[in-house]
């Protein structure tokens, strides 16, 4: 029952660590209380304001809606996502202090996010430690693929949830305990809608789109493409078989975000992966 795509059921969120090392008492994550518990949006994370505010003295007089005698107006003027965004900022600071760039990878299902990570891990082995937070509604498949590729991974299963949020990533970072100077990838749940709304504390947002999805995606999912720092166009090896106009994609993406970077590559064939590695290197 998420407003855009029907996600919900916060009891079903699970964080699973796939590397036994992470279970040892390494550095704790961004928050100073326990981790690894299932939690939902905004529940069980304590209150952000110290007082119990049993009385609201900033309340103004009764409104004029006919219920005037019986209601009291409390003026809040507070951003709906304030709690998520505060926690995201907390995650971001924690990561920045440890010199850990965090890359939030978002796309529709199957664009090749995990494939790109597998290749990136292989490429960076021996030069830079990579850790991955995998977000999927169900299964440990992607975290297992990452571990097989040689990196540590934590799987966040969101149940019916269609995106990762800052509390989930906070818990995942706590379970993963990425070391100073490592590179953290956050593979979001495959969905071009809701993940765009939720800051998780990343340094950069990357949208992956594959050429089989069509070149009209930026204008169909404008919020996602407006939020992107980089658009990766994957599966260029399939260009001969599909009608995908890279120039059109560029034009649409730039109409939403004039300075967005765009890298077209093929994970399968390895074409232009150097541009991606160079982009990562600059983080």
């Amino acid at each position: 029952m998420c407003l855009t795509c029907g996600c919900g059921d916060e009891e079903n969120i699970r964080v699973t660590t796939l590397d036994p090392r992470a279970a040892e008492d390494g550095p704790s994550g961004p928050a100073d209380h326990g981790h690894g518990h299932a939690h939902g949006h905004g529940h069980g994370h304590g209150h952000d304001h110290p007082d119990g505010h049993t009385h609201d003295h900033d309340a103004v007089g009764p409104d004029g809606l006919g219920e005037a005698a019986h209601t009291e107006t409390l003026v809040l003027s507070e951003r709906i996502l304030a709690k998520n965004d505060r926690l995201a900022e907390h995650n971001r600071n924690w990561l920045r202090e440890r010199n850990i760039p965090a890359v939030n990878l978002m796309s529709s299902p199957g664009s090749g996010k995990t494939s790109l990570l597998e290749r990136t891990i292989a490429e960076l082995t021996g030069t830079r430690e990579v850790c991955v937070i995998e977000g999927d509604q169900e299964t440990l498949f992607d975290a297992e693929r990452i571990r097989t590729a040689g990196a540590r991974a934590v799987q966040v299963n969101t149940g019916a949830g269609c995106h990762l949020d800052a509390p989930m990533v906070r818990d995942a970072i706590g379970a993963l305990a990425p070391s100073e100077g490592s590179l953290l990838f956050i593979e979001n749940v495959g969905n071009l809608v809701c993940p765009a709304l939720f800051d998780v504390g990343e340094q950069v947002k990357v949208v992956v789109i594959s050429v089989t999805e069509g070149d009209d995606k930026p204008l169909k999912y404008p919020h996602m493409f407006t939020a992107a720092d980089l658009v990766v166009v994957n599966k260029t090896d399939l260009l001969p078989y599909v009608d995908f106009d890279i120039a059109k994609l560029h034009q649409q993406a730039r109409s939403l975000k004039p300075d967005v970077e765009i890298i077209a590559l093929s994970v399968r064939h390895g074409d232009n992966l150097d541009a991606w590695y160079a982009w990562l290197h600059a983080l």
């Binding site: 029952m1 998420c2 407003l3 855009t4 996600c7 919900g8 059921d9 916060e10 939902g40 949006h41 905004g42 529940h43 209150h47 304001h49 119990g52 505010h53 049993t54 009385h55 609201d56 309340a59 409104d63 809606l65 219920e67 005698a69 019986h70 209601t71 009291e72 107006t73 409390l74 003026v75 809040l76 003027s77 507070e78 951003r79 709906i80 996502l81 304030a82 709690k83 998520n84 949830g161 995106h163 949020d165 809701c194 765009a196 709304l197 939720f198 204008l219 404008p222 919020h223 407006t226 730039r254 109409s255 939403l256 004039p258």
Partner: protein, 111 residues
């Protein structure tokens, strides 16, 4: 359930157990959130809370953008930012709001 749940959590947090008659939101047309979907979710999200039965009032605010080239301000219906003057060097100045503006609490003597 994300956004609507965040509204409920915030209001529950701020109202100290008092019953809530209505909640006022401001949702910008460029905020990426569909007001009707929030209305749809609200009843389910509030059931069993102090907000149960409360009214949800959403003020939808239009998108406005400012052009850096000609310094004009104009309405925008979507995120494609192009000034009538032809410049794309445009900044959104309104329409991305996603706020709980106020809450009406039922008057009850406080113990």
């Amino acid at each position: 359930m994300a956004i609507t749940q965040s509204v409920v959590d915030m209001v529950v947090d701020r109202t100290a157990g008092r019953r809530v008659a209505s909640v006022q939101l401001q949702v910008g047309k460029l905020a990426g959130v569909v007001a009707d979907a929030m209305r749809f979710c609200f009843e389910l999200a509030t059931s069993g809370t102090v907000l149960e039965g409360a009214r949800l009032e959403i003020e939808e605010t239009p998108g406005r953008a400012a052009c850096r080239a000609c310094r004009d301000e104009f309405d925008v219906a979507d995120l494609v930012l192009l000034c009538p003057c032809g410049s794309a060097d445009v900044r959104i100045v309104a329409g991305r709001e996603l706020l709980v503006t106020s809450v009406q609490m039922v008057e009850e003597p406080c113990a």
